[in-house]
Structure formats: structure tokens, C-alpha cells
């Protein structure tokens, strides 16, 4: 392939924006120990511009000023640093692949641990709990549901989702090979669908950062979907390294539909198990 050699210059405006972004992320890290410094910059730029629009700010340094002087404001602005969009049983083929490939292996262990990394508002956590319940595994499982955003974790733990999303969640659930009707798992109340508390008795919700924290347990399955896309390659390598170190020999790693280990440092540490569904297994070595 021919290589493009011309030297391009960003506009001065973009260069200044990036400079301010760097300063902002450094300030957030120093002040609050949230480390966004290795997040993918293209998406972060967009979200910061949205935040500036939302708060009527001319410059990113205005946002920085408020963030470092006002912790309550930072808590609110967190939604612009992290992306909170999820669905129950999103990409149903992934959950079908878990049933087909991972569950039979997990059943051979007396007890299992599952790590949902970057669980956001919990849709994946409750989906996983339902899947394990239907496979007779929930009672001997521990699910670690981790995220850096306290508000998201709180929402995840509440297990309350908007009623108007249930039609979509039900379709996904059926497409994922659900054995019942999704409505058997929730009641309506608090203005939403309230999922059965029994499903979360084996779930541990915890604050954990893939950017700064270490491995905390040995697990049999890591599910981390559509989280790595928000990281740059360096941070992706760190996160996948954590997953590798956390997984038992031949343990499973599930990623998002368009995420791949192919471009990272740990490509050789995993083998594709259901390649199209991004289900991998830790290699034996």
C-alpha cells in the first residue's frame, strides 16, 4: 500500500482545544483520581463540545474551572466523560454464544466468578444474572459488576429500567435464546420495570477503574463490551492485560461486536472461540 507522506497541520483552534483537553484531564486526575488521560480522543472531544454547549461555555478551560472548584458539578458532568448507553441482551448473538460455548464449560466448575467490567447502568449485569439463572448456575456464581461512575453503579444496583425499553429488551432476550418471557423477571413500580431482587443476590457492585486499579479476583468469565472503544490503544492494552491476569487458564473474555484483540498487545494471549460474537478464551500458556 502506498503511504501518505504529506505533512498535515491541525488548525490552531484544534491544537488549542487539545491542549485545554489535556489540561482538563490532568486536572480531573489530580483532583478526583479519575483517569481519562488515555481515553480515545476523537470521542472525548465530541463529548466535551457537547458539555460546553450544555453549560453554555465558550472554552474548555471554563469547564475545567468549574470541574475543579465544584465537586457536585463534576459529579454531574461525569456523564460527559463516560458513555452510558446500554441495552439488556444487546447483540443477542453474544448471549447465544455464551450459552453455546461458555456455559457448558462454566458448568464443570463447582463455583464460578464472572466480571462485568464497565457495567455502566447495569443492563448487562441483569442480563447475565438471568442467563446464569436459566442455566442453573446463578446460585454458585459470583458476579462482580464494576464501573468508575458512582451514579451508574447506583442505577445498576437498583435494577429499575424505563418501561418503554422493555419491548426492545424483550426482543433482544428472545433473540438471545431466552427460555421464558422477560416479563417473568420484573414487576412494574417506581415508574419503571423493577427486576427481581433475587437476581442480584450473587452480584457484588464495586467501584473499579480499568485505567488505575489492579486485578482483584480470579474469574472464569470477563464480559467487557463497548468499553474498550472509548480507550486509546495503550489503555486498551492495560485493560486487556488486567483481564488476562484475572482469568483462570482457558477462561472466557467477551468483547463488543466491533471490538477486536487483533490490533492490541495481547492478541497472542487469547484465541477466538466464537469470532463473530467476539468471544475469546485465554490461551493455555
Amino acid at each position: 500500500m502506498p503511504r501518505v507522506v504529506l505533512e498535515a497541520l491541525m488548525s490552531a483552534e484544534t491544537e488549542l482545544f487539545d491542549l485545554e483537553l489535556k489540561v482538563l484531564l490532568e486536572a480531573v486526575y489530580l483532583r478526583y483520581h479519575y483517569d481519562f488521560r488515555h481515553y480515545a480522543v476523537s470521542s472525548l472531544r465530541r463529548r466535551m463540545r457537547h458539555a460546553m454547549g450544555r453549560y453554555g461555555m465558550e472554552r474548555l478551560s471554563d469547564l475545567q474551572h468549574r470541574v475543579i472548584h465544584d465537586p457536585a458539578f463534576f459529579a454531574e458532568a461525569m456523564q460527559y466523560f463516560t458513555v452510558q448507553v446500554s441495552e439488556m441482551f444487546r447483540d443477542p448473538g453474544y448471549f447465544a454464544a455464551l450459552r453455546e460455548h461458555a456455559i457448558p464449560v462454566l458448568k464443570t466448575y463447582p463455583s464460578i466468578k464472572v466480571w462485568i467490567a464497565g457495567c455502566s447502568t447495569g443492563e448487562e449485569v441483569w442480563s447475565m444474572a438471568i442467563l446464569l439463572e436459566e442455566e442453573g448456575l446463578l446460585d454458585r456464581a459470583v458476579i462482580y459488576a464494576t464501573d468508575i461512575n458512582p451514579a451508574a453503579l447506583e442505577a445498576a444496583e437498583s435494577g429499575v429500567f424505563p418501561l418503554d425499553r422493555m419491548a426492545l429488551f424483550s426482543r433482544n432476550y428472545q433473540a438471545a435464546g431466552g427460555r421464558r418471557s422477560l416479563s417473568e423477571y420484573f414487576t412494574t413500580g417506581y415508574g419503571g420495570a423493577v427486576f427481581d431482587r433475587r437476581l442480584k443476590k450473587q452480584v457484588v457492585f464495586a467501584d473499579h477503574s480499568l485505567a488505575t486499579d489492579a486485578v482483584f479476583s480470579e474469574v472464569h468469565l470477563v464480559s467487557c463490551r463497548n468499553v474498550l472503544i472509548y480507550f486509546n490503544r495503550e489503555l486498551q492494552d492495560r485493560a486487556v492485560g488486567l483481564f488476562h491476569d484475572s482469568l483462570v487458564r482457558r477462561g472466557f473474555l467477551g468483547l463488543g461486536a466491533k471490538e477486536s484483540l487483533q490490533f492490541g498487545a495481547h492478541a497472542a494471549d487469547f484465541e477466538a472461540c466464537a469470532p463473530h460474537e467476539r468471544l475469546y478464551r485465554r490461551t493455555a500458556s
Binding site: P2, L6, E13, R46, K258, F263
Partner: protein, 190 residues
């Protein structure tokens, strides 16, 4: 007219776009040295099939982008269903599930804006037929950063709203028919 060779090309299309893209991508020579990134509006909930469909009508390899895929000259990458396609830096693409733009994910604005920020005056942006106003903010960003914008003539477009909206919002360096576009691609100086 001789233009400097772009370091990257971004293309946005919506309603009527598949046929227009077949024509436009068919004009790129096999030796085209810059990467080509495409957003065609597609439904979020099923595989698009479009890259496979267009692969045969284009001299360059056509594929759906994966997250953090290296950006190579002479390769056409499409945004996958339900993800925005972004230019991360001069050698890498990123995907994101940030909010839909004007109900679309993928959307044209995020691609054009992120590419404009990275490639500045080295970018060529092409906006084709469509019935949305996605792309208007992206075209404005490309022009603001010094890149070149060609927009399909709304009179020729199957759906004129998208090109007309971008022209009204941000203007263009050229308003072109698909035939003009092919000729212009041939005038780029290596």
C-alpha cells in the same frame, strides 16, 4: 484545476446513497494512496451488507471498520451499524456508541468533524444524496479547518435535502454531479 492530494477522504451518504456510492467508489483508481472513510446511513439493528455489496464495484478493498483499526492508504472503510466511525489520529480509526446524531448511528457529522480535526487542510470531504440534515455541521467543520468539500448537486441527487442543507449551512468548494466528481478525482495531483 489541480488540487493537492488529500491525505484522507471522507464520504457521507443517506437515502439513495448506495447507488451513488457505487458510482463514486467505482471512480477511485486502484493506486489511490489515501484512506477513504464512508458513512452511509443504515439501520442500527442488522448487518449492513453494504461493504460486501460494493467491494466488487470498487478497485480498492472495501470493508467495515473495526475499532482502532490502522488507517491505510487505498482502503475504503465503512462505519458499521449502530456505531459512529471517528478518526482517532492520523493512523487510527475509532468507533463509538455516543448518542445518535439526528436519529442516526452511524452519522456523518462525527466522521467529518473528527477527520477535520485530525487532517485539517489535508482532508477531502464528499457529501452525497440524502433526506436528512446530517453532514451539515460536519461540512462546516471541514471548511473551518481548511479542508476541501465537494457536495453532490441537489438537482441530481435522489434525495436533495442533505446536500442542499449542507450547501445552505456551510457552502461548498464545488457543487458537483457524480460525473464531475469522477473527473475531479482524476485531477488530484499525486
Amino acid at each position: 484545476m489541480t488540487l493537492p492530494f488529500p491525505q484522507a477522504v471522507v464520504i457521507g451518504a443517506s437515502a439513495g446513497g448506495v447507488q451513488a456510492l457505487r458510482d463514486v467508489l467505482g471512480c477511485f483508481p486502484a493506486t489511490f494512496p489515501a484512506p477513504v472513510l464512508v458513512v452511509q446511513h443504515i439501520p442500527r439493528d442488522r448487518p449492513s451488507g453494504i461493504p460486501a455489496l460494493l467491494d466488487g464495484s470498487c478497485a480498492l478493498p472495501v470493508a467495515e471498520a473495526q475499532d482502532k483499526e490502522p488507517l491505510c492508504g487505498g482502503v475504503v472503510l465503512f462505519a458499521p451499524p449502530d456505531y459512529h466511525l471517528l478518526v482517532e489520529d492520523r493512523t487510527t480509526v475509532s468507533l463509538s456508541r455516543d448518542e445518535p446524531v439526528l436519529y442516526s448511528r452511524p452519522a456523518i457529522d462525527p466522521l467529518f468533524e473528527s477527520a477535520a480535526e485530525v487532517f485539517g487542510e489535508g482532508l477531502l470531504a464528499i457529501l452525497l444524496t440524502g433526506a436528512s440534515s446530517d453532514g451539515s455541521a460536519g461540512v462546516a467543520a471541514v471548511r473551518r479547518e481548511g479542508g476541501i468539500v465537494w457536495i453532490q448537486d441537489p438537482d441530481e441527487a435522489v434525495a436533495p435535502i442533505m446536500p442542499a442543507s449542507a450547501i445552505a449551512h456551510a457552502g461548498a468548494d464545488a457543487i458537483v454531479t457524480l460525473g464531475d466528481l469522477c473527473r475531479r478525482l482524476g485531477t488530484l495531483a499525486p
